[in-house]
């Protein structure tokens, strides 16, 4: 189901990023990643929920039942302090690596 073969570490980062602004339920996270990536990244549910449970177990997110705007019960996930710290670290790391890769790819060949 991983259409674009999102690596596990990357998926964790995307999920954390999606939760950075507000708590969300699982479906919402999928939708947000899809939106933000302009439909390029589709997170398969077969990997999303395992990732959420894993992040929760690791203490980066917590979850609680809440009510949606349509009055349905859903499990909302939010970042913990650990999670914010991890996201910051991951982003910095990602930017360094992607810049490095871009430099390599963009280097002039003579």
């Amino acid at each position: 189901m991983e259409k674009d073969g999102i690596l596990q570490g990357t998926l964790d980062m995307l999920v954390l990023r999606a939760l950075q602004l507000e708590p969300m339920h699982g479906w919402g996270i999928t939708e947000r990643i899809q939106q933000w990536s302009e439909n390029v990244l589709q997170v398969g549910q077969g990997t999303l929920y395992p990732a959420l449970y894993r992040l929760e177990r690791q203490g980066f997110v917590r979850s609680a039942w809440n009510v949606t705007e349509n009055n349905r019960r859903a499990r909302y996930y939010s970042l913990t302090r650990e999670g914010r710290k991890r996201l910051t670290g991951d982003l910095a790391q990602w930017q360094r690596v992607s810049r490095a890769i871009n430099l390599v790819l963009g280097a002039t060949v003579d």
Binding site: M1, G26, W27, G46, Y49, Y53, R57, R73, A74
Partner: protein, 889 residues
């Protein structure tokens, strides 16, 4: 800290497991609902929208599996569930489970039982403080042989070395008549010198040790007794004025040793050496010497010092001593030396059996893995993680090993009992042997690891395969060529190891049969032996009276109804006893030798006059009763009484060795060294050879004196009868009428011979059982593999048969396959056996370790087994109906 928290969290998560599943279900439902709504908003029909949403989600079960895998902390619970599942799977395959469990239990049980005995007998330290510091010291003779020590040499060792903290001499009486009031019984005892209890670092638990005042000639006789003797024979009461009659003299009991004190092995009483006069001869080798190493001195240093001193003594005393060197051996090693080869042999055999059992189970597991491929593929397809499947298989392996382990524990406990019941009675320290927990743990781990590694390999291989391939192709692709090759290798290995075991068993069996066929030189059927012991020594009148009593005993016995002939010998040839032997001198006339100086002088002057022989005392009836033929001259006669010139009869081999081309009859011989009587013998007859001690050794040259002329206090009466069982009671009564007290034991020659074979029978029985079990396992392995091959190739055989192949061609093909595998195994096995059976050399009799008949028999037996084991499944292949086979699947 961290790990404690983790464990606590895991334990709590057990209870939260159901909550987690419920939460996940709800989340998934919510997710799909949301997607459905979105799809409807996008204009799909509600039905379509839901279907699409479900598809977009992917397998819900797959998601669940992966979430569960993420919530891994509940390992304990998973583990329990895996085990339950494993047990269920095994219950569904009862045939496989039963065979695997029984096979492993057999291997575990045998290996553990044998190791337990090896550990208890060979490895456990002796029950004395710092027992590894106790050594046994030996004189070493000119040929390098170790032997007992003479008293002057012992005294020189004691005063001339510094490596030992204490050193003592011990003379073990094999058995002496002991009475605690009432009938006398033969009891093993020992005289021990001053430092004996210091060497052993043991003290009496009741009473006291010997006083210095009790350690001199003429002191009142005292004895220390064993705990068992105190309990059983003395009633375990206060020592006070307890006394025992030992060899005719009353001894006061002053002490009782602890129950675990047992040296020399089996000894029931100890008396002080210093109560009898010192021995002056450096060639009277009457003592065992034990010593305790001094603090900080290692064995090697002690050996060096003792050896140097002994060689110096040899240089100083020349021919006066026969000691050329000395040897020191740790006491435990010395005590267990006789049992060591047999036990190590059995240990090797049991270990082989365990390996064979493991191979067999491996084989079964691989076979099963191939049929379960589809099940595993399905589990993988519905989203079970690879690790999940692997763990499942491991859990199954664990369940199997645990079941086998439990059965193995029972088998080991039973095995130890069987070993104790079968053991020939001469294995030291065997009484305390119990199942050894370390050995059990090792065997369990070995079997478990074997199962686990196999499960892992199977799992990795199965989960690596392309799912579609496995699913679509059913059982066919399964386990593939690699699995088959592995199974073939297992079968080859099994056959090879089985061949090794069988070769050992077959060599031992051939030796045993050969030994049974040995002619001991005397009649064995229907001969009764009555062992009697009278107090040693006595004055001339007493001795004459007792010799008369011996004559009466022989006559009384011979007159009993059913007794054809009766006689007397000082030591019956077969069985344990003192078979005294020594040097004699041939004389030119009966009275050439007047003193021991003459004996010594003549022996040194003319080596050609000296000879060596066993020294026996017998009556004429002994030879006729046992059917030992008179070859030349005459036997003892009525006229050879106490007052007549002393006469002797010699064995054929002595005649041949000493007088190869002369007539021994009429020659004079001096054997004064043996009983201190300097009257010479005139040889009057030559009789046939007999084997002494056991039938394994060739006949020794024997010299027989007449019991009327040379009194012996310890003797056996023999009676030839048609029904020894019936006569035994009457014989006992007859003896008791003449002597109510003396210890009397009655046995038959058959029993005596049998007891010399007990050790061999023990190892042969066990090796036989082990190699039989190995053969059955190998047959099972081959049967399983061939059955599998036949099932695999049903289609092919169908085609062959349809194309006109004869059923026998198919049969030949299948059986040929099994035979080729077995042949490879046998070749490897034979090569290994040829290398290993050399270790057996000391246990063989009359055959070489590479005996072609023994090896041929093994090959034949294995071959037949293999052919039968592959024939059964091959018949199934023959009967394949081509049409069914082709339609198949």
């Amino acid at each position: 800290m961290e790990s404690m928290k983790e464990i606590w969290r895991r334990i709590r998560s057990l209870g939260r497991r159901d909550a987690m599943e419920r939460r996940l279900d709800e989340e998934i439902r919510f997710h799909i609902d949301q997607q459905t709504e979105k799809n409807i908003r996008a204009g799909m029909s509600p039905q379509d929208a839901r279907r699409r949403a479900a598809i977009a989600f992917g397998g819900t079960e797959s998601a669940r599996e992966r979430v569960r895998a993420e919530v891994r902390p509940a390992l304990l619970e998973d583990f329990a569930r895996d085990l339950r599942y494993g047990a269920r799977v095994l219950r569904r395959a009862p045939g496989f489970a039963t065979i695997a469990i029984v096979t492993l239990a057999l291997g575990i049980g045998a290996a553990t039982a044998v190791f337990s005995v090896v550990d208890g007998v060979l490895l456990q330290p002796l029950p004395y403080p710092d027992s590894d510091r106790i050594v046994r010291l030996y004189q070493v003779g000119s040929t390098g042989s170790r032997g007992n020590v003479s008293e002057p040499n012992f005294e020189d060792w004691k005063s001339g070395t510094r490596s030992f903290k204490a050193m003592a001499e011990v003379a073990a009486f094999v058995r002496v008549p002991v009475s605690t009031g009432g009938e006398q019984t033969m009891t093993p005892g020992a005289t021990v010198s001053r430092e004996f209890f210091e060497v052993m670092e043991a003290r009496p638990v009741v009473g006291r040790g010997f006083l210095e005042s009790e350690r001199r000639v003429g002191a009142a006789p005292v004895a220390i007794v064993s705990h068992g003797f105190w309990q059983d024979r003395l009633g375990g009461g206060r020592l006070g004025d307890l006394a025992v009659q030992i060899d005719g003299a009353l001894h006061q009991v002053v002490g009782v040793m602890p129950a675990e004190f047992d040296y020399p092995l089996g000894t029931d009483f100890w008396v002080p050496r210093e109560q009898s006069p010192p021995q002056r001869s450096r060639t009277a080798h009457n003592f065992q010497v034990v010593a305790r190493l001094a603090d900080g001195v290692d064995l090697r240093t002690a050996r060096t010092e003792l050896g140097a001193l002994s060689r110096a003594l040899k240089a100083a005393y020349g021919d006066e001593t026969w000691m050329f060197d000395a040897a020191a051996v740790p006491l435990r090693e010395q005590l267990t030396a006789s049992a060591r080869p047999t036990l190590l042999l059995l240990l090797g055999a049991a270990a082989l059996l365990l390996v064979i059992a493991c191979l067999n189970v491996s084989n079964l597991q691989l076979a099963r893995a191939s049929t379960r491929q589809r099940e595993l593929a399905v589990r993988l397809a519905i989203g079970a993680g690879r690790w999940r499947v692997i763990r499942q298989l491991l859990a199954e392996a664990l369940v199997l090993s645990m079941a086998a382990g439990t059965a193995g524990v029972l088998a080991a406990a039973l095995g130890v009992q069987v070993l104790l019941a079968l053991q020939p009675g001469n294995v030291p320290r065997i009484e305390g042997v119990g199942v050894d927990l370390r050995a059990l743990a090792f065997a369990l781990v070995a079997a478990g690891a074997n199962a686990a590694v196999l499960a892992l390999v199977t799992a990795l291989r199965s989960t690596n395969r392309d799912l579609r391939e496995a699913l679509s192709d059913g059982q066919r692709t399964v386990a593939g060529a690699r699995g088959e090759r592995a199974r073939q290798a297992f079968v080859v290995g099994q056959v090879a190891l089985t061949t090794v075991l069988l070769a050992g068993g077959s060599l031992l069996a051939r030796s045993f049969i050969r030994l049974l066929a040995v002619d001991p030189g005397f009649r064995t059927e229907g001969v009764l032996i009555l062992d009697l012991t009278w107090p040693y020594g006595g004055d001339t009148a007493t001795r004459a009276r007792r010799a008369n009593l011996q004559q009466q005993l022989i006559e009384r016995l011979g007159a009993l109804p059913g007794v054809e002939d009766a006689g007397l010998i000082d030591e019956f040839p077969i069985g344990p006893g003192y078979f005294s032997d020594g040097q004699f001198i041939e004389m030119t006339r009966a009275d050439e030798i007047q003193s021991f100086e003459d004996v010594k002088r003549l022996g040194e002057e003319a080596k050609s006059r000296a000879g060596y022989a066993s020294y026996r005392i017998a009556s004429a009836g002994y030879f006729s009763s046992l059917g030992i033929p008179l070859l030349r001259g005459r036997l003892f006669e009525e006229s050879d009484g106490p007052g007549a010139p002393h006469v002797a009869v010699i064995s054929e081999s002595l005649a041949r060795a000493k007088w190869p081309d002369r007539d021994p009859i009429g020659r004079f011989v001096q054997f004064g060294n043996m009983d201190g009587d300097l009257r010479g013998f005139r040889i009057v007859g030559v009789v046939g050879d007999v084997r002494e001690e056991s039938t394994e050794a060739p006949p020794e040259p024997i010299f027989y004196g007449h019991y009327r002329q040379r009194y012996v206090s310890r003797f056996s009466l023999v009676a030839r009868t048609l029904s020894p069982g019936v006569v035994a009671t009457a014989a006992r009564q007859a003896v008791r009428e003449l002597d109510a007290q003396a210890p009397l034991e009655i046995r038959t020659v058959d029993e005596a011979l049998d007891s010399t074979l007990a050790g061999r029978r023990f190892s042969l029985t066990l090796i036989g059982v082990f190699s039989g079990a190995a053969l059955v396992l190998a047959a099972l392995g081959i049967y399983g593999l061939i059955s599998y091959l036949v099932a695999e190739r049903t289609r092919e055989f169908g085609i062959r048969l349809a194309l006109g192949a004869e059923a026998t061609d198919v049969l030949r093909l299948v059986v040929g396959r099994g035979t080729i595998l077995a042949a490879i195994g046998m070749v490897i096995g034979i090569i290994a056996a040829l290398a290993l059976t050399r270790l057996l050399e000391g246990m063989l009799f009359g055959i070489s370790p590479t005996d072609p008949i023994a090896f041929g028999g093994v090959l034949l037996l294995t071959l037949i087994t293999v052919i039968v084991a592959s024939y059964v499944p091959a018949r199934r292949a023959m009967r394949i109906a081509p049409a069914t086979a082709l339609r198949g699947e």
